[in-house]
Subunit: 378 residues, 4 copies
């Protein structure tokens, strides 16, 4: 990855900087070719301390020297005023108010929190799938009171939604709309943050339940894979209002079942699906479409987008979390066992690094894409 | 459990006695109210040794004193001649020939091996579901050359098939035939025997593949849940030939996806299903039917049948392998999270102890039922 | 275990009833031959609720019906007034005040908490080792202001101290005092309570540190293995004051190193030791002494004392937590690999169930012993 | 790491190339600045196949393209004739004969196998400790029949010996000879190779025994930390015969206890030790000496030697296998919890990556050092 020729580094801030997602943001941004970490925010308990004293560092790579001595701020807009981009790894119990305040202060927020994912004017973007949903930002700014020039909120998806939706996007692009989706997840403990899952609950065990997760997968998938449509007769600033169509042209039935398993990182997902198109593509055609898929984020030159969006495995027992999660620093996804489904059309497994493409990496590619589109003024 | 009043203990033998399933047979049979262990068989490497020297004991309960000094025999019929019942925990690579030889020697074999499960004259019995399939034994004996008086082979099902098929049987009994079944398994390592799964393959990992397992589940489920029908115009000993109908009257579409997870014991299964009947039963009705289900094995008085065939959990995060597998010594199954499926009708999770009702306990209840039916001459 | 002939059940209370140790107390006491659960205490958050609603039950055996509908009280003496014995599974941050208040209300408290272990008038008793230390109770009552008739506090030891100290007691009984002790522990996660150790900290990992644990082991071992001596010229109620001699006659050097490992239950301890006696006993003699050891608690008839205090394993790779922790319901300890130490005299490994003999079971046997000694008025 | 200016790549071969250690050799050597993989050897089962077909690849990084199509040979010297260096990752049951044959064919063998570690003319080298023991090679060649020009065998140590011996070397360098050593290991499953430890033996478990390991640690430590001395009156080729003194000048008492824990990679070792010198150094002095230690391999310019030989951790709960094993690609070691030992002088924990510095990386640095010394003719 190269610095953009002749460009100054773009200043970015990180909210929730001491948490699990915040630490991942720091790890990735400390070596980012475009961005430079300018401000860190956390709870009042951490504010005023240097980062090395405030954070209980839980990453496998060591804490970057660049942040060790940075003073952690409270999550208020002022210290972030110079940041062209603010990444949010906040917990959902505080993300709502804080992100709203940052947007109102005309700051561009790229959030990993769930709070605004269902807002009709906030795009929910998996950067390897639907970065074009960024186009809703103008409307979000125009409808804000008072209207905003630079501030907005962009969200990325739940870690388990992200994993399978990339594969589905590749298939819809090649073969047209999906009609039915059955998903069973085997999710890693890091998806629950830190301290997260107590060890007594998960060693030698499986927990067949993750609160709210199934509903999130079913809802988010439709917003991400769906398009946008004009709302008849409704305008803002003279332009027609847009809304997300939630995959309305081909209603998409989705059933998700979520399980927590004793794996540190890497969500494994069993997918079965049915296409609208009859006859459906063969497993061989599906493999080829998955391998050939290139995200627009990659084509446009986002430096954090993976070279190979979807790695398709031939070995019958791959992908596996421990063996495949670190490939491409977790920025792409892995698919394997593509075969016919006796009930629907096709089944396969997906593996994605839930802390990388499933969280911080998605936010970062979203921001890169926004820079390339000129949505962020750097 | 009580000895049968006024009855002598019934002598039983165990083939594959040093293996994982054999050890479980020994554990259970050493305290059985009806049966007494009379002969042990294993490979020629173990033959001639006392059991304590031959077996690498891997059970959590200690080796029963009664078997420690028993001499292990080769798996040949002679030393088992006095056994009214022979349980087989043999590996499939040797079970075919040995079980056949035992049957030919007029011995009653209850096998956990897969070799004869698809034989059209051998019943595949999950004792809490279809013990009535024992009725094929007469035909199996009559068609043998030369015809047999007492010898036969009865098989029980694969450990993951057993788990869900008990729940399905309860539902078909209450609401009529199923039409569609989607199954995703999270299977314990003990299902692979010993040494089985290398630890490097499964710690902090999931393996989304178990060789042959999906096909077994799809096939065995139909044989077990299906009925029997007369083959027109074909008779043996003057009685019409019977065949398994493989659930033919309502064709049952089944799609299974199998995963190995780092859990010692307890297969967890995510099930979604569709009934023929419209409208389908509600989740509440499904729960009631599962709770109310009583197996014929229990009603007839099989001492190893669980008091509660299906334990339905109300807590949203149960059952779990480590918490629920030992309930009723693993002889029943656990169901939880019964809810509507947005794609099919109903979804839920099943947990079963794969080494108990999923293996040895099933064989033993099958034998108990056969005793009660007079099929075994004790 | 039999009810004591012609005796009424003895009413007992449980403090910290909703916690990990409290749940274990309930599990054990609900089937106890002498004791009946009469009152449950927990934090004000739980008080007023029925137990089934207040507790997040985490035991592998199901919640006993007898407690499901019991109302949970705050931890104040009044509702426990009829209890002849009060077991405390309280956290150390509240145990100090509450246990003191219960004692002041003339209640007999058997505590698993660490708060009073170092009190010079409170006995620290591992019931299979030093129940004779109960004799300090008279002095504890006499020195209380105002003096007590029935109230007192008895503590049991840290879960890792308990494990090895039982083996050491057997060896000191047979061969005289020890002089040097090197201990390295591999401790289970259940030792840290619930939620306890975050799974992200321990899956595929070892944590070579448990706060305060090494110092506790080094200190507690001396108090438990030591004797009592009269304090010259000091009396209470006309009798000479006693003090614990902390193994003073043969100063005992102890070095402990503590590690947390990804095991649910069962502390494994590597011990090396040196006797005062020259020449030291051989490994063979050590094995025999360990096997022969009978605790006074057992000899006096405590129903929860294990039949075999120390199970000595011959297999070179035993004991192991998963295989041996459940033996005798975890009431005894396991020793293996007894061999010469090239630096000290003898080395071996000890395994103990940290939630049974390492916690609740010890408190219960202590109470049983106190009943047999007439210290508790039932 | 840079290619040596103006030098051709040095051709190397790998024996046991399909095994665990062999795969690690391939991973490291495929990106080595000096060496190029020229020939691969494995069992006759693999011979004749391309490597991609022969190997069951179990590394987390993907198989290097450079070896995928290389034909695997039997382990006979001919196809390795052009290799200046042959690395051996052979199992000990075949390493003895094969390595001997390669040496006899005048090939330089750097072996990870245990077979020749105790040979009085073969150096046992932990490259960050005693590379000067390479000087025995001349004698090894001279005593061979017929005498050798280029062939020899160099071994590296057991994976658990390697870990602690590096820390001990640093301490002996700073403070003079050690006198007593107590070691308790918590060893990762990858130390047992593949398939290695069955998962049923280690999930939720600890195995307090590794066959032969304790004796190996006790013996190897003395050979590595010891010096060399002339054997009075014995010469070869006119020069006095050398022998390893096994730390004879200050006899070193060592007691090791070995445990297997459910960790994929990273041996954790609890060390207590006593110096000859009175008074002994303080924990603070020990920390400083560990941090300051530079290996001769690093000073001489071995490209695979770590920049920081020993990383000393300040956090009380570090190092930990999952958090620290990957630091410097596992080429250095980690030390933490340096503190006083109440029995000996000092205690601390060591963590080392058993598959890197504990195995293949050691062999490779040994070879690099030999190249720099001119012992290998490249």
């Amino acid at each position: 990855m190269q610095r953009m020729a002749g460009k100054e580094p773009i200043k970015v801030g990180i909210l929730g900087a001491t948490g699990t997602v915040g630490q991942r943001f720091i790890t990735l941004l400390s070596v980012h070719p475009w961005f430079t970490i300018h401000a860190l925010g956390a709870s009042s308990r951490s504010a005023g301390k240097v980062y090395a004293a405030a954070a209980n560092w839980k990453q496998i790579t060591y804490m970057p020297n660049a942040v060790k001595d940075m003073i952690v701020h409270e999550c208020k807009p002022e210290p972030f005023a110079e940041c062209a981009i603010v990444f949010s790894g906040l917990d959902s119990d505080v993300a709502g108010e804080i992100e709203s305040a940052f947007r109102a202060a005309d700051l561009a927020v790229f959030s990993n929190a769930k709070n605004y994912r269902r807002d009709p004017h906030v795009p929910l973007i998996v950067p390897l799938v639907n970065p074009e949903h960024l186009s809703i930002i103008g409307q979000q700014q125009a409808l804000h009171s008072p209207p905003l020039k630079k501030g907005f909120i962009v969200t990325n998806a739940n870690c388990s939604t992200t994993a399978h939706v990339i594969a589905l996007a590749a298939l819809e692009k090649a073969f047209g709309p999906l009609e039915t989706l059955m998903i069973t997840t085997l999710q890693a403990i890091s998806g629950a943050g830190y301290p997260g899952v107590p060890s007594l609950d998960i060693i030698d065990n499986v927990v067949p339940y993750i609160s709210g997760e199934e509903e999130k997968i079913e809802w988010e998938t439709r917003k991400i894979l769906g398009g946008m449509e004009e709302m008849e007769g409704q305008t803002v600033s003279g332009r027609p209002l847009q809304q997300f169509d939630m995959h309305a042209q081909t209603p998409l039935k989705i059933s998700a079942a979520c399980n927590r398993v004793p794996v540190t990182t890497g969500h494994m997902i069993n997918v079965s699906l049915k296409f609208s198109r009859r006859p459906p593509p063969s497993p061989q055609q599906v493999c080829e479409a998955l391998k050939a898929y290139r995200s627009d984020a990659q084509l446009q030159g986002c430096p954090s987008a993976p070279l190979q969006t979807i790695t398709v495995h031939d070995a019958p027992d791959r992908p596996q979390p421990r063996m495949d999660r670190a490939h491409q620093d977790g920025a792409g996804i892995n698919v394997g066992r593509v075969r016919q489904c006796p009930v629907l059309d096709i089944k396969f497994v997906v593996l994605a690094d839930n802390v990388s493409i499933g969280a911080a990496t998605s936010s970062i590619i979203n921001a890169e894409y926004a820079v390339l589109q000129g949505v962020v003024s750097s």
